[in-house]
């Protein structure tokens, strides 16, 4: 084994630090899914009647749907009756302030490096912490309220802003959109709600931290972000889960609505437990994310760093409805050991002069399979639409796979669509060049990998970029060889 081989090997075999379990008494519904479970969830959250109806309709739709099998991932059948659809830490009723939050919970977030006390936080980021099925704390609420921004958990939004919820929920991802979205619509328990009023530039970054803790549960959160005319918001999400031998299901839905001149920047660092080296355990991450550029000159930008999950099935998309709207997708997906990722985006061009950019970087190591799957669709109405797509794959090791499945559909002659993709490995020459200049093999590999991902990392907010780089190192640990 050469020096580089050893380094890569070391790089790939690192531990999953957030893999601990918090011992908490939880209020968990028994496993199983039927209308009563949905009624129970809705009742627990004290929801208005329209929400219950909405959920039941989604559930009835879901019953008639089939689980999709077209993705390039393989897994055994999921028993949807063996999952518990609601689990909340059993503590007091809705905490009024952070001081009332169970200290064990606060400690969990501290251990994860997400201090919820505002003074300890780098100024400028407000956090909504979601633990299993419920939101446990939201920081900086007052400061945001002063600017007119609503940032709260979905449950609160349903209580306090039912009209907004009713108007926008399901307007981007309809309840019957796909199998997992329908399931989510029926049983979603919490998530974040963001509303940025007209002309407001959100004074700080908003962030949600998702944590799965309880065993044999699924997490089904739902996020809704509405940016009114000429507003701006940058939103980050992070996720972790304990190490367990069984697979857990995470089926989230994210909906973004950008009106005239509004801009939403949505960044994800996904680090769900990826399973062990043999592919035991890990999260099934089946997520529907979609943004609707409803207004003129609106812009939605997705940035994702996907390092975790046993299986990822995720296609953050943009519907470019408004004239001159812009959609962007920047992605780094890292798979190692037995992880499988099928991820990409959809850019649907409807408006005139709409533009979209797709930059996707896939890194595959160990026995992992990493696929980019994307759709660029230019409809007849999208005069002068423009798309540029670049997807590159890096292979580390001879037992992994990297795949590219783009779909390009153009119905408008003035459109200009470009797609390019390449696949390669870290060449001996590149490594030799770096090492010749005094870098260790490990540093050389990490530098090359970071360089490979740089186009995407530079889109991340500063704090996240640092975290993403560190994560990349961890995920690939032990993969060189």
């Amino acid at each position: 084994m050469s020096a580089t081989a050893k380094t890569l090997d070391k790089l790939i075999k690192k531990d999953y630090a957030p893999g601990f379990v918090t011992d908490l008494e939880a209020d968990t519904l028994p496993p199983g899914l039927n209308e009563d479970v949905i009624r129970a969830i809705s009742a627990k959250k004290n929801e208005p009647e329209f929400m219950l109806e909405w959920r039941l309709e989604a559930y009835r739709h879901w019953l008639n749907m089939e689980e999709p099998t077209w993705a390039f991932v393989h897994y055994g059948p999921v028993d949807y009756q063996a999952i518990s659809y609601y689990s909340a830490p059993k503590s007091q009723e809705q905490p009024k302030s952070l001081d009332e939050v169970d200290p064990k919970l606060l400690e969990t977030y501290n251990k994860l490096g997400i201090p919820l006390y505002e003074q300890e936080r780098l100024a400028g980021v407000a956090i909504d912490a979601v633990f299993d099925s419920v939101s446990v704390a939201t920081t900086f609420k007052e400061k945001l309220a002063a600017a007119g921004v609503i940032f709260c958990s979905m449950s609160e939004a349903i209580q306090n802003h039912p009209d907004l919820v009713r108007q926008y929920l399901g307007s981007v991802v309809p309840p019957g959109d796909n199998f997992f979205a329908a399931l989510n619509s029926a049983v979603f328990s919490d998530g974040s709600f963001v509303y940025i009023p007209k002309g407001v530039r959100c004074p700080m970054e908003l962030s949600t931290y998702f944590r799965i803790n309880a065993a044999k549960t699924g997490q089904f959160e739902r996020t809704l972000i509405i940016a009114e005319d000429s507003s701006y918001v940058s939103y980050l999400e992070g996720c972790t889960a304990p190490m367990r031998d069984e697979n857990q299901l995470h089926a989230a839905v994210v909906e973004l609505v950008a009106l005239d001149n509004a801009e939403i920047k949505y960044s994800t660092v996904q680090n769900w437990y990826p399973g062990d080296e043999e592919g035991r355990g890990g999260i099934y991450n089946f997520v529907t994310k979609r943004g609707d550029c409803r207004g003129r000159k609106s812009k939605i930008s997705w940035t994702q760093v996907e390092t975790g999950s046993a299986i990822t099935w995720k296609y953050p998309s943009c519907i470019l409805r408004g004239d001159e709207s812009v959609g962007e997708f920047y992605s780094v997906a890292v798979t190692n050991h037995c992880q499988q990722a099928d991820t990409g985006t959809k850019m649907i061009h409807l408006g005139k002069n709409t533009r979209s950019t797709i930059i996707s970087k896939g890194i595959s190591a160990g026995r992992a399979q990493n696929s980019y799957r994307g759709l660029v669709k230019i409809l007849k109405s999208a005069e002068n639409a423009r798309n540029y797509t670049q997807c590159d794959s890096l292979l580390i090791g001879d037992r992994c796979g990297a795949h590219t499945f783009p779909y390009i559909e153009v119905k408008q002659p003035t459109a200009q669509v470009e797609h390019e993709a390449s696949t390669s490995k870290i060449s001996e020459d590149q490594l030799f060049f770096c090492m010749q200049r005094g870098l260790s093999a490990e540093d050389a590999v990490s530098m090359i990998v970071n360089g490979f991902c740089k186009q995407v990392f530079k889109e991340l907010p500063m704090e996240f970029a640092v975290e993403a780089q560190a994560l990349l190192g961890i995920s690939l640990e032990g993969s060189v060889g």
Partner: protein, 439 residues
């Protein structure tokens, strides 16, 4: 009655008249294929590979198989136009070999070029080792259809070390309205052999018919084969063509596909590469009117050191739709593979559509693979440049469209075929009635 039932019914009576009926292995092959076809029917858009091409009309529009019946009247002028100078020629009229129009004199010793029906009489053992060996393992309805019901086809066998100095040409000519031509072509080159073959598909007038044709190619060790397909069917016809090739160690294959005709036409080109084999796939389609032209390629790199190059261009005008799907699979053992795919498309009208699906599936790490796709329109600056030199706009557009397409035509190595393709291209160009004196 579904289309599958219709054809199964029809062929029940005709089965005994199909060639090779006396061969038990072939009878078994046909029966298996028929039961697969009757179970699956023609493919539906729900199948991923048929996402962009809907052949539902074939469920309603039923064609009449004509086994045994004499071939319809052949327009000799039309045939003569398609003939390549100096080529050995096999002509199939409505899917049946026509010795009258074929030219096979002076073939070099050991070279076989004849109809498959004849070959099944003369060389049944040779055919048994070749037929149905290269088609995809999971064959869709069309492939099963041709296996079950092929009436004839070309059989070409080049023995080891033989190099042909003249091209072979196979013309598939359809004359009968609502007719059905089902053919299987078999081409085998033994080691170190070299040959080039041109398949031409055409028909008379504006009759509507269905052509289903599968060509299996096996290229032996270090052999070289150039294969051309010119699809120039009539404006109302339906065409399915499958070209499935396997290359042995260090073999070289060049396939050039040119599609202009048909109402709904699809060609599949698959290649499996052995150790250090080379494969070059080129193609051009020009879809005008209400045509739907579909080209699907699949390259399997199954052994190390293979090289593949794909260059496809497509043009869609009027209300036409052009589809390209290319897939490259690099298997785990195929280290040092070098694969490239390029697909460039031109959209000429508001009502036309281009769909492209380039795919890479890579299971080995020491490889170089890349693909690129573009879809766009004619460069307005280039049009303006020509206009500023006194060329009117339609002519300028025509010149630029022709130039875009001609780059693919220039890749043809047979000059007689190049001339034929250029004249076909011009006749299919939008506004083809305008002056062509600039050529």
């Amino acid at each position: 009655m579904s289309a599958a039932q219709h054809y199964v019914e029809h062929y029940r009576e005709l089965a005994s008249k199909l060639p090779g009926e006396h061969l038990p292995w072939l009878r078994r092959l046909r029966e298996e294929a028929q039961s697969r076809f009757s179970a699956s029917g023609f493919p539906s858009p729900r199948e991923e590979e048929w996402k962009y091409t809907n052949v539902a009309t074939l469920e309603k529009k039923l064609f009449v198989p004509t086994v045994g019946a004499p071939a319809g009247a052949t327009d000799t002028n039309a045939l003569a136009r398609l003939r390549l100078e100096g080529a050995w020629l096999l002509v199939f009229v409505d899917g049946v070999y026509s010795a009258e129009h074929s030219v096979t004199a002076n073939l070099p010793e050991g070279v076989i070029a004849t109809s498959l029906a004849n070959a099944l009489e003369q060389y049944p053992d040779l055919i048994e080792g070749l037929l149905n060996q290269v088609v995809p393992e999971v064959a869709h309805g069309f492939i099963a259809f041709t296996t079950a019901y092929f009436r004839d086809g070309a059989f070409v066998h080049i023995p080891a070390g033989k190099v042909l100095d003249r091209p072979l040409q196979v013309i598939h000519f359809s004359t009968r309205p609502d007719g059905l031509s089902v053919t299987r072509n078999l081409v085998a080159l033994e080691q170190n052999a070299e040959a080039s073959l041109v398949e031409t598909y055409a028909g008379i007038g504006d009759s509507s018919y269905l052509t289903a044709s599968v060509t299996e190619i096996s290229v032996g060790e270090n052999a070289g084969f150039d294969h051309y397909k010119l699809q120039s069917e009539t404006a109302k016809s339906y065409h399915f063509g499958g070209i499935y090739a396997r290359e042995a160690r260090s073999a070289r294959l060049r396939q050039h596909h040119l599609a202009f005709g048909g109402l709904l036409a699809r060609t599949e080109i698959h290649a499996q590469l052995g150790h250090a084999a080379e494969c070059e796939l080129d193609g051009l389609f020009l879809a005008t009117g209400r045509r739907h032209l579909d080209t699907q390629t699949l390259i399997h790199h199954r052994a190390p050191c293979g090289t593949s190059r794909e260059t496809y261009r497509g043009i869609a005008g009027d209300r036409a739709r052009g589809v390209f799907a290319g897939r490259i699979v690099v298997h785990p053992e195929a280290q040092k593979t070098d694969a490239e795919m390029s697909n460039r498309n031109l959209l000429l009208s508001e009502d036309a559509e281009i769909d492209s699906k380039p795919q890479l599936e890579i299971h080995a790490d020491d490889v170089k693979c890349a693909h690129g796709v573009t879809v766009g329109q004619l460069d307005p600056e280039a049009i303006f440049y020509l206009e500023s030199r006194g060329v009117d706009e339609p002519t300028a557009r025509n010149m630029l469209t022709f130039a875009f397409a001609n780059e693919m035509v220039e890749k043809i190595r047979l000059s007689s075929l190049k001339r034929l393709v250029q004249s076909e291209l011009l006749s299919f160009l939008p506004q083809s009635d305008i002056r062509k004196d600039w050529l």
